[in-house]
Symmetry: C2
Subunit: 742 residues, 2 copies
C-alpha cells in the first residue's frame, strides 16, 4: 500500500515525451506462452463468452434482488421491524461477496493484454490495428496497480464490478425523482424554512466539522506513521461532503409505516432529500477545486520529488514491461505542505460555483417540469394514458440528461423536476396515468434502491483496493457523529427561536439518530477510487453506511418507543404536537411562514397553478386586464366550466366543498376555507372513496368527448373564484389522497 496510483483525475505529466517515434511494450498477462491457445480462442468466441459471463453476473444480482424481495415479504408478513429491506439487501450482498471472493475461482481467460506505450494520455477511444483489422476499444477507467497483478485471481470479482457511473446515471435518478415526486408537499412547505436550514446550512456545517475533525485525525495519523499515502485537506472536506448526505430511504420507510408525527417526518424527509442535492454539488465543487489544486501543484513539483512511489514488492508482474516510465506517477506530489493549496480565494470561488451549479440545476429541473405541465395541459393526451405516461417518463428523464449535457448536476435537476411534476403536472394527468406514473416510479425506486444496497454489500468483499485503517475509521465515526450533532442541535435551537411549532428535544434526538447514510453516500464515494485517500474514504464510508443502516435503521423502533414518541398518527390529521394548528387556525400557517413563502404561495395560487394546470382561478381573473387576451389563451376552459358546474348543481356540494377545502389546506391559502376543513375533508374521504372511480371515469369520458380545441367562453372574467371542482380527483403520488389539487 505504499504507492499512490494517481491519474484518472487528470494530473498532467510534467513534460510530454516525444510522441513519434516511440517504443511500445506489450505483455500478455497470464498468457501461458503458447500461441496456439491464443489462436484458437477467436474473437467471437471471446465475445460470446464475455456476453455469457455478463449475463451470469447480472443474474447474480437479479437472484439477490429476488431473494431480498421474498425475505422482505417474510419480514413484513411477520412484522419484523428490526431490519429494513435495505439492510437485508446488504446482508445478501455481503454473503454473495464472500462466496465470490473465497469460494469461486474462475479460470482466468487469457485474454487480457497489456499494451504499454509511451503516450502520455489515455484517449477515450482506442483503435487497435490488429494485423490489419481495426478494433475499437473504449476507455473503461484506470485500474489499480494491484489489480494488474491479481487479474488472474480476480477476474470474477472484476466482472461483478459495475462502472461507478452506472450508479450516478442510471440508479440514482429514479430514486431521487421518486423522492421529489412522492414528497408530501403540505407538510414539506409548512416546514420549508427549517428544512432549508437543515439541508443547506446544516450540511455545510456538517461537511466542515467532519472535514476539520478528519484533518486532525489524518495529521495525527501522519505523525504516528499510520498513513500509507497522501491525504489532503480537500480530501477531508470531500469526505465530509459525501458522508453528510443522509439517506431518505431507510428510517423514513419505517417512519411512514409507523406513522410517526408528520412534522418530524417532513423535517427528516425534506432534509435528507435536499441534502443529497447539496452534498452532490458540494462534493463536485470540491473535486473541481482539488483538480485545479493538483494541477497547479503538479506544475511546481519536480519529477524526483519524494522519489518514485512504486510498489516495492510487486515488480514481478511488470518484469516484462521494459519501458516503464515512473515519472508521471509522481507528477503530482504536493510541494511540502499538506494544505493542498486550499485558500480563501478558492473557497470563495467554489462557493460561487456551488451556487451556480445548484441554481442552474434547480432552474433546469423546474423548467422541464413546467414544460411537461404545459404540454399535458394543452394537449388532450389524457385520453391515451399510455402516451401520457410515456411522455411524463421521457420528459422527466430528459431533465437528467439535459442537466448533464449542460454541465449541471442531473440528480439535483431531477429532484426539483420531480417536485414540480408532482405539484403541477400530476394534476393534469388522467387518473390512470396518475396511478401509472406513481407505480412506475415506485417500482423503479424500489429496484434501484435494493440494487444499490445489494451492491454495497457485495462491494465489501469484491472491491479490491480496500484500505481499512482502524484509526481513520474511528475518527470517521466520531466525526460523523459530531458533524450530525453540530448540524441538528445548534440549528434546532436557532430555528426554535423563530418557530411557533417548536422542534422538541426528543425530536432533535430522533433527527440526530436518524441521520442514516445510504445510496447517495455510496455513489459519491465509489465514483472515484483511484487514489489511496479515496480508497480509504470508500472503505470507511462503506462501514459507516453498514453501521447506520443496520444499527440506526434497526434501532429506530426501539428508539421511538424509548423516547415515547407517539406512533400511529394519521398523516392527514395533524400530529398531537401541532394539534394547535387545527382547521380554524389553519390560515395562521400562512402568516406563520416567512413573507417570501407567503409571496410564493400567492404567486403559485394566482398565476402558476392556473397557468400550468386546469385548477385554480382563471388567469383572466388574476392577471391585470391589460393581459386579457393572453390570459384567455392560457386559461384552461375547465377552469370556467368547473366554475359553472359548481354554480349549477348543489347536490354534490359537500364533496366539492371538502375537496376545495383540502386544496386550500394544502397550500394554506385559505381565502374562504371554512374552519372545519380538516375534519370535513377527512370525513368525506371515507365516504367518497367508493364513488370516486366511477366519477373519474365519467369525468374522463366527458373530457374525451369534449375534443381538443380550447373552447373560450366569452363570459366576463368573474371575481376571484375560490370554489373550483375537480373534474378528476387524483390520488397523489405519495400516500395523501387528493390533496395536491392546488
Amino acid at each position: 500500500m505504499g504507492f499512490t496510483p494517481r491519474g484518472f483525475l487528470g494530473d498532467k505529466p510534467a513534460k510530454a515525451p516525444p510522441l513519434f517515434p516511440f517504443l511500445l511494450t506489450f505483455l500478455l498477462v497470464g498468457s501461458r506462452g503458447d500461441s496456439n491457445a491464443m489462436d484458437n480462442v477467436s474473437t467471437e468466441r471471446l465475445a460470446e463468452e464475455s456476453h455469457r459471463q455478463d449475463s451470469a453476473n447480472l443474474l447474480i444480482f437479479i437472484t439477490l434482488l429476488t431473494l431480498t424481495i421474498l425475505t422482505i415479504w417474510l419480514f413484513k408478513h411477520r412484522r419484523f421491524r428490526f431490519l429494513h429491506e435495505t439492510g437485508l439487501a446488504m446482508i445478501y450482498g455481503v454473503l454473495v461477496g464472500v462466496i465470490l471472493r473465497f469460494g469461486v475461482h474462475v479460470p482466468q481467460n487469457m485474454s487480457d493484454v497489456i499494451l504499454g506505450c509511451a503516450v502520455n494520455n489515455s484517449p477515450a477511444t482506442l483503435l487497435v490495428n490488429v494485423s490489419g483489422r481495426f478494433y475499437e476499444y473504449t476507455l473503461k477507467g484506470e485500474v489499480g496497480r494491484g489489480k494488474g497483478h491479481q487479474v488472474q485471481d480476480d477476474e470474477m470479482l472484476r466482472k461483478v464490478t459495475f462502472d461507478p457511473e452506472v450508479f450516478f446515471n442510471i440508479l440514482l435518478p429514479p430514486i431521487i425523482f421518486h423522492a421529489g415526486y412522492s414528497l408530501k408537499r403540505r407538510h414539506f412547505f409548512r416546514n420549508i424554512g427549517s428544512i432549508l436550514a437543515y439541508a443547506f446550512v446544516g450540511t455545510v456545517i456538517s461537511c466542515f466539522v467532519i472535514g476539520l475533525i478528519m484533518y486532525g485525525f489524518v495529521s495525527f495519523m501522519k505523525a504516528v506513521g499510520q498513513l500509507g499515502g497522501d491525504f489532503f485537506f480537500t480530501d477531508c472536506l470531500f469526505f465530509g461532503a459525501i458522508v453528510s448526505a443522509t439517506d431518505p430511504v431507510t428510517v423514513l420507510a419505517i417512519f411512514n409505516e409507523l406513522k410517526v408525527d408528520v412534522d418530524l417526518y417532513a423535517l427528516l424527509f425534506g432534509e435528507s432529500v435536499l441534502n443529497d442535492a447539496v452534498a452532490i454539488v458540494l462534493s463536485s465543487v470540491l473535486l473541481r477545486l482539488e483538480k485545479q489544486g493538483r494541477r497547479g501543484a503538479g506544475a511546481v513539483s519536480s519529477p524526483g520529488d519524494g522519489g518514485p512511489v512504486w510498489p516495492q514488492g510487486e515488480e514481478g508482474w511488470l518484469a516484462e514491461n521494459q519501458t516503464f516510465a515512473p515519472r508521471s506517477i509522481v507528477a503530482y506530489q504536493p510541494a511540502g505542505d499538506n494544505s493542498h493549496s486550499f485558500e480563501a480565494m478558492a473557497m470563495l470561488k467554489s462557493f460561487g460555483v456551488f451556487l451556480g451549479v445548484f441554481s442552474g440545476s434547480f432552474a433546469l429541473g423546474v423548467a422541464t417540469g413546467f414544460m411537461t405541465a404545459l404540454v399535458t395541459k394543452f394537449t388532450k393526451l389524457r385520453d391515451f394514458p399510455l402516451l401520457e405516461t410515456a411522455l411524463f417518463f421521457l420528459m422527466s428523464w430528459s431533465t437528467f440528461l439535459l442537466a448533464e449535457a449542460c454541465g449541471f448536476t442531473g440528480v439535483v435537476a431531477v429532484l426539483f423536476c420531480g417536485i414540480t411534476q408532482a405539484h403541477y403536472t400530476f394534476n393534469n394527468l388522467s387518473p390512470d396515468s396518475q396511478d401509472r406514473t406513481k407505480q412506475l416510479f415506485e417500482l423503479l425506486n424500489f429496484l434501484a434502491e435494493n440494487f444499490i444496497f445489494s451492491y454495497m454489500g457485495l462491494t465489501l468483499f469484491s472491491f479490491q483496493s480496500h484500505v481499512f485503517n482502524p484509526l481513520f475509521i474511528f475518527g470517521a465515526f466520531l466525526a460523523v457523529f459530531l458533524g450530525r450533532a453540530a448540524n441538528i442541535y445548534p440549528l434546532s435551537f436557532l430555528l426554535n427561536l423563530g418557530r411557533k411549532n417548536k422542534i422538541g428535544s426528543k425530536f432533535q434526538h430522533v433527527m440526530m439518530f436518524a441521520g442514516l447514510r445510504g445510496a447517495m453516500t455510496f455513489a459519491l464515494s465509489i465514483r472515484d477510487t483511484a487514489t489511496y485517500a479515496r480508497q480509504m474514504m470508500f472503505s470507511t464510508t462503506l462501514l459507516i453506511v453498514f453501521f447506520t443502516v443496520w444499527i440506526c435503521g434497526g434501532g429506530t423502533t426501539p428508539m421511538l418507543s424509548f423516547m415515547s414518541i407517539p406512533v400511529g398518527v394519521d398523516s392527514d390529521q395533524d400530529s398531537p404536537n401541532s394539534a394547535v394548528l387545527d382547521g380554524s387556525q389553519r390560515r395562521d400557517t400562512k402568516h406563520e411562514s416567512a413573507w417570501p413563502f407567503r409571496i410564493w404561495y400567492n404567486f403559485d395560487h394566482n398565476y402558476l397553478k392556473p397557468l400550468l394546470t386546469h385548477s385554480g382561478p382563471p388567469l383572466t381573473a388574476t392577471l391585470p386586464t391589460c393581459c386579457g387576451p393572453l390570459a384567455r389563451c392560457l386559461t384552461s376552459p375547465q377552469a370556467y366550466e368547473n366554475e359553472g358546474r359548481l354554480f349549477d348543481d348543489d347536490s354534490d356540494s359537500i364533496l366539492n366543498d371538502a375537496t376545495v377545502s383540502s386544496m386550500y389546506a394544502d397550500v394554506t391559502v385559505s381565502t374562504d376555507a371554512s374552519g372545519r376543513t380538516v375534519n370535513r375533508s377527512s370525513g368525506t374521504r371515507g365516504l367518497s372513496d367508493d364513488c370516486v372511480d366511477h366519477d373519474l371515469a365519467l369525468a374522463e369520458h366527458e373530457v374525451a368527448i369534449r375534443g381538443t380545441r380550447l373552447v373560450l367562453p366569452v363570459d366576463d372574467p368573474v371575481e376571484p373564484p375560490t370554489t373550483v371542482t375537480l373534474p378528476s380527483p387524483p390520488s397523489p403520488p405519495g400516500s395523501e389522497p387528493r390533496r395536491q389539487r392546488l
Copy 2:
C-alpha cells in the same frame, strides 16, 4: 468497396506470427501533431466531455420519442390511420439522421489513437500501460476500414450509433415479453395448429425461398460484375432468415383498433410472434454454420489466393502504419466455389442445433414461468403489490439472462416465459399487481418499440457503410414477396384441408399483405455489419422495413375496406366467420383441435392449473389417491374454500356460473359449461364490473387476515369439482377481461 473487411466473425489467421518480440505501430488519427494540445486535454476532461456528449446524444433520442408521442396523439386524436406511430417514429428518425449527416459538423476531438500491433487476436479487455498508469479498455467491436478513414467527419455519427447488442439485450426482450404476455390465449390456442404451421414450416419455407432467389440474383450480379464483394449461399440463407421475421407490431395495432376478425388477428399475431423466435434461432444457427464453414475454408485457402483484397484508393490513411500485415484479411477466401461449404450433413446438423436451441429456450422460459407461478402461489406476496410486481419483473428478466448465460436464445425464452406468466402467474397476482405488470410492460414495450423505429430512421443516414445495390434491392423485394406468398398460400391450402373453420382467400390476401418487417428484422441485420455482404443486407433490410411499415402498414385500412373485410367485431364475441362456433357448439372446439392439444388441455386443466394457481379443481381430486399427501400440500386452500363458498351461498350463483363458464370457455374444456356460456358471461360482465373492485378488496382482506400457513382441511377429496369461484377476478394483460382463470 473492393475489399472485404472480415474478422469479427472469428476467421483464424492462417499462421500465427511470433508473439514476442513484436513491433507495434502507432498512429494518431487526426492529431494535429502538436503535443501540447494533447497534454492539455487531460483524461478527466475527455471523460467529462464524452459523458456530456453521450447525454446530449441520448437527449436527441428522447426528444425524438417525445415528438413522436405528441404526433401520435395528434394522429390518434384526429383519427388519421394512414400512418402508424412506428412509421412516424421512423420519419422523425430519418429527419434527425439527415440533420446529423449533413447539418452538424462537430470538430473532431483528437482523442482517437490507432494502435497497430502484430498480435493476431483482439482481446476482450485491453490494459494499456500509458507511461506507467494502466487503463482498461473494453472491446467495442471491429470498425470498418472506411471508418478509420473518416473518423474526422463522422465523430458525431459514430457517437449516435448504439452497440447492436443493445437492441438484442435491452430493447427486444420487453417487446417480446409483452407480445407473449398480452397474447389472447383463447383464440391463440384455438388456432394453435395453423399458427405453428405458419410460424415454423412457413418461416423455413420463406427463408429458403428467399435464400434461393437471392442466390440466383447474387450469381447473376456476379456474372454481370455488379457485386463488389463476396456473397455466399449461407449469406443468402441468412438474409432469408432475417427478413422472414414478420413484425407483430404495426398492422396488429391497427387490427386491434379496428377490431378485425379475431381468428385472423390470432393467426397473424401468433404467427408473427412465433416466427420472430424461429427467425432468431434460424439465423443464429446459420451464423454458426457459416463460421464453421469459414473457419474450415480459411484453413485450406492459401494466403495469396485471390490476392490481398486491399482497398486500392485508400492507402493514405495507413501511410504511417509500418508493419501492416495484409495476410489475415484474406485468411478466408473460399477455394473457388461460391457454395460456401454448404452441405447436406451440415444442414442436418444445423437442424438438430435448431431444435436443441429452440426447445432449450422454450423449456427455460416455461420453467421460469412455472417458478414464478409457484412462488406467487405459495407466498402471500399479494398483500404487497410493489413486491409482487418487482418479483414478477425480475423473474421475467432473469429468464432472458439465464437463457443467454446457458447459451440459449434469450428472446425466445422470454416469449414463452411471457405466455406462461400470463397463463398461470397472472392469476395468482393481486388485482393491483395485475394492472401494474400489464401497464409496466405496455410502457416498456411502447418505449422500446418506438425507440427502435426512431433509430431505424436515423440509421438510414447515420450508418456509414451502406451498400445500396439496386439490383440486389430489387431482388430482395421480389424475394420477400415470393417468400411470403410461398409461405401463406400453399400452407393455407393445406391447413384448410384439416380446418373446419376455413381460412378464406380474403384472409389469405390480408395475411400476405400484412407481412410487415420490423424491429426483429432490424435487430437481426444490424447485429453484424462487418462484411460487405452483411452491409448490403443491412441496407436492403432497412429499405424493406421502411417500405413495409410505410406502404403496407399505411395501406392496411384501405386494404381491409377494399377486401370488404368486416371491422368492428367485438373480440369477445365470435367473428361472423366463426359464428358457427356459438356457445352450444363450443365443446366442439376441443374436438376440432388435434388430439395432442386435447391431451394438453386436459393435462393443463387437471394438473397444471391446480398446481400453479389457486383455481381449477383441487389436485386431491385429479391426482391418483397414492399421491394424496403431496396433492394436499400443493393444492391451494382457496381451491377448497372457493368450493365451499359456492355451495354455501347461492345468491351470487349467476356471477359464479358466468365466471366459471368463461373460464371453461377460455380453455375449451367444458365438462359442465352450459350452452349459453358466451352470451351469459358477456352479459354478466357489464353487470359485474361495478362490484368487482369491492369484491376484490374484500377478498384480498380476507387473504391478508388468513395468514400464510396452508390451512389444509381434512375433508375427503370431493368429486372433480367443476365449479370454482374466483376470489379475485383478474383483468387480464390483454383486453379480454376475466378469461384467464383456468
